[in-house]
Structures are given as structure tokens and as C-alpha cells.
């Protein structure tokens, strides 16, 4: 028995040492688990445990995606406070995926502003437009439009856009 226990300890240790869990992941997973446990009982707990596992195993956005799937499965738009709390908890998971274990204050500030603005935009659209598909279409179109504007800005800024006379937009 002692031997088996020792073997188990040694095999777990590398996994624990190499885990990808950050402080933001931990806070996000705990908040998400707490909110979902309170509102949806054991199903909420299971989602929270799954998210915690994904955050431990991966440094990418897997935990965020799993959390969103859990939220979509359990939370309806009518539960506005639960939805807001779980989305903010998921935002912490995303911030961890974006900036790693030690984000700077500026990075966190930029991320929070962008994330909250996006959620606010979605809330505003779905609250004001008659059909939800209109909101969905607008969200996708807006994101694509901003991405294209950023792309063009980058091309011009790096001097990669040439005019017919051979000069770059930066030169002009």
C-alpha cells in the first residue's frame, strides 16, 4: 500500500508542476463554478470542474470555450445577473489565455475595456433590434469590418501599400 501510494505521488507531481493554471484562471473558474452551482446546482458544479480542468491542462482559450458552452447550455438570457456574472468570469479565463500568467495593468485594462464594450454592444443590439438574427448578423459584420480596418491600417503603416507612382502611403 505504501509503495502504491508513493508511486501515485510521484506520477502526479509532474502534472501538478507543469499545470497551466494562472491566478486569473483560478479566479474565473471559482467565480463561474460558484455562480453556476448557486443557480443550477450539480450541473453548474460539473461545468465548473470541467472548466477548471481545461484551464489546468491548456494555456489557450479552451477553458473559455468550454465555459461558454456551459453557459449556453445552462443560462438563459432572462437570468440577466447570472449571465453577466458568468460572462465576466469567462472573461477572466480569456484574459489569462491572452496575456499569460503575468499580464500588465495596461493589458488588463485594454482587455477589460474591449470585452465589456463587446458585451455591452451585444446587449444593446439584442435589446433594441426586433429579430435576434439581425443582432447576430450585425455582430459578425461589425467584427469583420473592424478587422478589415485594422488590416488596412497595418498595411499602410508598415509601408506595404504602394501607389501607382511607386511611393507608399506612408511616404505620402
Amino acid at each position: 500500500m505504501v509503495g502504491a501510494g508513493h508511486s501515485e505521488t510521484t506520477s502526479l507531481r509532474p502534472s501538478v508542476r507543469s499545470n497551466q493554471l494562472t491566478l486569473l484562471d483560478g479566479i474565473g473558474a471559482i467565480v463561474l463554478t460558484g455562480v453556476l452551482l448557486r443557480s443550477h446546482g450539480v450541473w453548474g458544479l460539473l461545468v465548473g470542474i470541467g472548466v477548471l480542468g481545461a484551464a489546468t491542462a491548456s494555456s489557450g482559450p479552451a477553458a473559455f470555450l468550454l465555459a461558454q458552452l456551459g453557459i449556453v447550455s445552462l443560462v438563459s438570457v432572462a437570468e440577466s445577473w447570472t449571465l453577466a456574472a458568468t460572462q465576466l468570469a469567462a472573461g477572466l479565463l480569456l484574459a489569462s489565455a491572452a496575456y499569460g500568467p503575468t499580464p500588465t495593468r495596461a493589458q488588463l485594462g485594454r482587455f477589460t475595456a474591449a470585452y465589456v464594450a463587446a458585451l455591452g454592444l451585444v446587449w444593446g443590439l439584442q435589446a433594441n433590434l426586433r429579430w435576434l438574427w439581425q443582432s447576430a448578423l450585425l455582430v459578425v459584420a461589425l467584427a469583420a469590418g473592424v478587422a478589415y480596418v485594422l488590416h488596412r491600417y497595418e498595411r499602410v503603416n508598415l509601408g506595404l501599400v504602394t501607389t501607382p507612382d511607386g511611393s507608399t502611403e506612408v511616404d505620402r
Partner: protein, 473 residues
């Protein structure tokens, strides 16, 4: 800015959530789509910031190891890249090889500055197969971002050049003891009189002269029969023995022993054509004579031999059984044997080897060069034998020239000194001095003139080194 596959997966997921919301009529998935989109846009903005930072902070340098090279050479191209401040994204700098060089392996011509690092360098080896001015003037900069969702490629200017010359033995030196000689291809008067075209002298008629040779004007003037002698010109048969064995490959690309030897051979063919001399050619490689032609005086013959020379390549095989020892003739060996002390065990053991000549002769007579010279001499004893080879196999060469000196009226030997074609220059001055001793030894043989054939700069360097070494001593 190009999105990566990871970005596409996340963008697709955001679209999926948006579509899911529209299909279900439930807004919750739309918040997931909104959050994910916010993150992707923020990542894009961060990537732009990183790319601008890299573009401003990066400095690159491309340098070529040898600014002058010959076709077929390899040269090293070094790419250095450094950032004035580290960035949190990987930066790849790729040397864009011009179309006229063979592209090196990707690992060799792409360097990566990892996140947090400020500099990197890489060196790649490129082959230069085409003559001309080759410019390494473009670097392709590939900047990633911290999250791995975007990349951007920017072309940067560089300024590294290499001048690639076509391979030719343009700086040919033909000489003796490092001193160039003028020409070997002059008229060849025989210093004999007889029938011919160029008047030489008049003399009194003697019994036996044919009546047709009487110069009647002189006879009338002198009141005695006179004969006018003409300078006799002869047609030498040029017997060319050209060694294209594998040892002739030595030297840099395009400036091998073979290339210089070929220039000499072409010169003789041209001279023979100019004077209408019959020509005969023997081309040999490691296995023996592989091509024989002539004798002939037709214009086709000269052209055929010329074409054959131009197409000639040194044999590809190794030097195999070539004997690189110094020549010791049987007579010298016998003298050495006689000088051994009395009946000491050393002398008793060694003497039979020094007295034995059969092995020596059979060893040399089996060699391609010796056989070729023997064949060339056997056809016409009045032929001018021209042997073009190197000094790798001294025993064989020496014995072949001894034979030629006995069998041929005139023998010219052109040797490419191995010491002057050694890329590593390990042979140095001693190698050239040793060669010169060998050449002089050949030159002392009857009817034999031996020359060295080499790149002029190498000969001048060897002479300078030899003079310096002599001064030091």
C-alpha cells in the same frame, strides 16, 4: 497581415455561436460570439503594435565570404539580425536567394529571433552556377504575434554582392624556373640547306649535284657552274600527348591543372594548323589512351582535335595506383647498391633489391603515360613530341621522357606543378622547389625542354616565397 489557422478556428467558433444564437432565438450564445470577437480584434491590434515595433527596431546585415568567385564555387553567406529592444513575438529573417544561385536548405537561410531575444545569425552555403554579378539584395522578414494568430511578411533591402567569373585559365604562365618564356610556337627552320623556297647561299657545282639546281645567272656571271642553295623548311609532325587523368582535376573550379594544360594543347594545335604541320593526338586518362587521332593535316583534323580538347574533362576516378615517389633509375639504384658497405647485414639485405631492374621497368611500362609516349614516339622519329601532364607521377613521367628523348627528335614537356594547384597550399614553397628540381632533371635530358604551366599569380607567389625563404636561410 495574414491570419493563421488558429485565428480561423476561433473566428469560425465565434461565427458558430452567432449562428447558434440566431437559430435558437436565444441571445446567450451571442455574448460568447461577442466576447470572442473582442479578443480576436484586440489580438489583431496587439499584433499591429508588435509589427511596427519590430519594423522600427530591426537592423539586418548580409555579408558574403568571398566577393569574387568562379562558376561552380561555393561561398558562405551570413545573415545577421538584431533588435534594439526585445519583442514578445518571434521574428524570422529569410535570405531570398537570387534565381541564379542554388537555394540553400531552409534551415540554413532562415534565422529566428525568439521572443525576448535581441539578435540572431545564420550562415548558409550557396553554389554559384552562373557567371555574373550576383546580388543578395532581398531579405524576407516574417513577423508573428504573441498569440500566434497573425503573421506579416515584409521585404527588406540588403546589399551583398559577389562577382562570379567564368572559369578560364586567363593568367597562364609558361616558363622555366618561374620565369616566363615568350613563345614555343615559332617557325621551325631546320638549320639545313637543300631544296626549298627561301634563298640561302650559292656555291660551286660539285659532282653529283643535279643540273636542275644550277643557278644560271650566277653561273653566267662567275663563268663557272654555281648551285643556289635554298633554306630547307620541314614539316614537323606534332605528336601531342595530353594527360586528362583524374589527378588533373586539382585546383579551383575552372582553374584546374586540366584547364591550364588544355590551353597549352590548344596553342599547339593552333600553331600546327598555322604551319600546316601534320598532327597526331593521344588523349589518356587513368586507364590508358582513350582517344587517338592522326597523323593528319586536313583542316578537319585540327578542328576535331580542338573540339576534343574543348570537350575534354579530367577523369572522374581517384588517382588509384599513381606512383608519386621520386624517380630513381636502375643505374642510380645500382650505384647506390655498390656504395653499400661490404657485407653488413643491411647491405646484404638491400643489395638484391637495388640490383633488380626488371620489376622497375615492368612497373613503369604498364603505366598509361609511358605507353602513350611509347606509342607516340614509335610512329615517326622526326616528330616533335609534346607531352602535357603534371608532376604527380614522377617516376612514370621521368621514364616516359627518357624514352622520348631517345626516340624523338625534339620533346617538349609541359608540367602543371601540383604544389601550385593545391587549394590548401599545404605543399608551399618546398613543393615548388621540389617540382623545379624535377623539371630541371627532365630539362637535362637530350632533346628535351621542360616547362612549368601554372597560374601566374601562384608562380609569382611561389617565387617570392622561395626568395624569402632563401634570404632567411
Amino acid at each position: 497581415m495574414l491570419p493563421t489557422r488558429r485565428w480561423a478556428v476561433l473566428a469560425g467558433t465565434a461565427c458558430f455561436f452567432a449562428a447558434f444564437a440566431a437559430i435558437l432565438g436565444e441571445a446567450t450564445p451571442l455574448y460568447a460570439a461577442g466576447g470572442l470577437s473582442a479578443w480576436l480584434l484586440l489580438g489583431q491590434a496587439d499584433a499591429i503594435r508588435t509589427m511596427r515595433q519590430v519594423e522600427r527596431a530591426l537592423s539586418t546585415d548580409v555579408s558574403v565570404a568571398t566577393p569574387n568567385a568562379f562558376v561552380g564555387d561555393r561561398t558562405a553567406v551570413t545573415v545577421d539580425a538584431s533588435l534594439s529592444s526585445p519583442v514578445d513575438a518571434p521574428v524570422d529573417v529569410e535570405l531570398v536567394a537570387p534565381p541564379s544561385v542554388s537555394e540553400p536548405h531552409r534551415d540554413q537561410h532562415v534565422l529566428r529571433i525568439d521572443p525576448g531575444e535581441t539578435s540572431a545569425t545564420t550562415t548558409c552555403s550557396v553554389t554559384l552556377p552562373v557567371a555574373g554579378r550576383i546580388r543578395f539584395d532581398t531579405l524576407r522578414l516574417t513577423i508573428g504575434d504573441r498569440t500566434g494568430y497573425f503573421t506579416e511578411s515584409i521585404e527588406l533591402d540588403a546589399d551583398a554582392r559577389v562577382l562570379v567569373d567564368s572559369p578560364s585559365a586567363a593568367d597562364l604562365h609558361v616558363g622555366q624556373g618561374g620565369r616566363a618564356v615568350g613563345t614555343m610556337f615559332g617557325e621551325h627552320p631546320t638549320d639545313q640547306t637543300g631544296p626549298g623556297l627561301v634563298p640561302h647561299e650559292t656555291r660551286q657545282y660539285v659532282m653529283g649535284d643535279t643540273l636542275s639546281r644550277i643557278d644560271w645567272k650566277t653561273t653566267a656571271r662567275m663563268n663557272q657552274p654555281y648551285i643556289r642553295e635554298y633554306e630547307s623548311e620541314s614539316d614537323y609532325q606534332l605528336s601531342l600527348v595530353f594527360d586528362a587523368g583524374s589527378q588533373m582535376r586539382a585546383g579551383p573550379t575552372g582553374r584546374t591543372k586540366h584547364a591550364y594544360a588544355r590551353e597549352i594543347a590548344l596553342g599547339f594545335v593552333h600553331a600546327a594548323e598555322s604551319y600546316g604541320d601534320p598532327i597526331r593526338a593521344h588523349f589518356l586518362d587513368d586507364d590508358g589512351t582513350h582517344w587517338r587521332y592522326g597523323p593528319s593535316t586536313t583542316s578537319d583534323a585540327y578542328q576535331t582535335i580542338r573540339n576534343r580538347l574543348l570537350d575534354s574533362r579530367p577523369a572522374a576516378g581517384g588517382t588509384g595506383t599513381v606512383d608519386i615517389s621520386n624517380p630513381v633509375s636502375p643505374s642510380e639504384a645500382r650505384q647506390t647498391g655498390q656504395s653499400l658497405d661490404g657485407d653488413s647485414p643491411f647491405a646484404t639485405t638491400l643489395r638484391p633489391f637495388l640490383d633488380e631492374t626488371a620489376t622497375y621497368i615492368s612497373r613503369v611500362s604498364d603505366r598509361p603515360l609511358f605507353n602513350a609516349v611509347k606509342t607516340a614516339c614509335g610512329t615517326d622519329s622526326r616528330a616533335h613530341l609534346v607531352l602535357i601532364t603534371d608532376d604527380t607521377s614522377k617516376v612514370e613521367t621521368y621514364e616516359a621522357i627518357v624514352l622520348a628523348s631517345q626516340e624523338s627528335e625534339q620533346t617538349s614537356v609541359f608540367l602543371t606543378p601540383s604544389a601550385l594547384f593545391d587549394r590548401t597550399q599545404t605543399a608551399g614553397t618546398d613543393g615548388f622547389v621540389e617540382f623545379e628540381a624535377f623539371r630541371r632533371r627532365l630539362n637535362r635530358l637530350r632533346n628535351v625542354t621542360a616547362y612549368e604551366v601554372a597560374p601566374r599569380p601562384a608562380v609569382e607567389r611561389a617565387r617570392t616565397d622561395a626568395a624569402t625563404a632563401g634570404g632567411d636561410r
